[in-house]
């Protein structure tokens, strides 16, 4: 063991989960709209994650419209490519954060699967061979790659 490296997939914004936050703004005197910033960047993985938890989704050019448990919301992407959830007026911050937390957990699993797929696909191209793959108790996955030596 000589070097330890922490990496963040491009599908995840370089912010800590603690930075994900809900904000609430008044749309009129009696109504507030809730928005939740996320760490999610990949639209395909986001769509898969939402479907996996039972969301219905509709893609347009600029947003993803979604619905879960009769609650409607949309995702829009900011200039950095990070998706932000916007909930219909009347949604509580708690309900919004709960849904985004569910989606985020499903998204993490999608990212994990995507990283594993890339390892299996690309390791041989970089002179490495998959030696073992272990699913751990905490649901993380550990793979060991052997570096082919000339």
């Amino acid at each position: 063991m000589s070097l330890e490296i922490i990496l963040v997939p491009m599908a995840i914004a370089l912010i800590t989960k603690a930075n994900s936050k809900a904000s609430e703004k008044a749309t009129n005197a009696n109504s507030h709209q809730v928005a939740v910033e996320t760490r999610m960047k990949n639209s395909t993985l986001l769509n898969n994650a939402m479907k996996n938890i039972g969301c219905t989704t509709t893609f347009t050019k600029t947003e993803i419209a979604a619905s879960l448990n009769s609650l409607d919301f949309t995702f829009t992407q900011n200039a950095d490519g990070i998706w932000k959830a916007n909930f219909v007026a009347g949604t509580t911050v708690q309900a919004a954060e709960q849904i985004i937390s569910q989606i985020d957990a499903a998204y993490g699993i999608e990212v994990q699967a995507e990283v594993l797929r890339k390892i299996k696909e690309r390791a041989p191209q970089t002179g490495m061979t998959l030696e073992s793959e272990t699913i751990n108790e905490d649901s993380s996955v550990t793979v060991v790659l052997a570096v082919n030596q000339a």
């Binding site: 990496l7 599908a11 370089l14 994990q112």
Partner: protein, 69 residues
């Protein structure tokens, strides 16, 4: 020659931790960019373990012996 390996752990949130095994000295650093490209990921932190210093010292010592002969 010991087998060179890379151990990669991906947690359920998508975070990645990699460790080089049996790869000595500064050659370890080559694997930062190799892993970034392979995983479509960005390294945010890396640190040498104590083993790195030992390995480096052995390499330097080996080179010293070679130069004297």
């Amino acid at each position: 020659m010991s087998q060179k390996r890379i151990q990669i752990n991906i947690d359920a949130e998508g975070n990645i931790k990699a460790e080089t095994l049996g790869i000595h000295g500064a050659k370890c650093l080559d694997y930062v960019s190799i892993l970034e490209d392979m995983l479509d990921a960005q390294s945010v932190e890396s640190k040498f373990t104590a083993d790195y210093a030992v390995s480096e010292a052995v390499l330097i010592a080996d080179q010293g012996v070679g130069n004297e002969s």
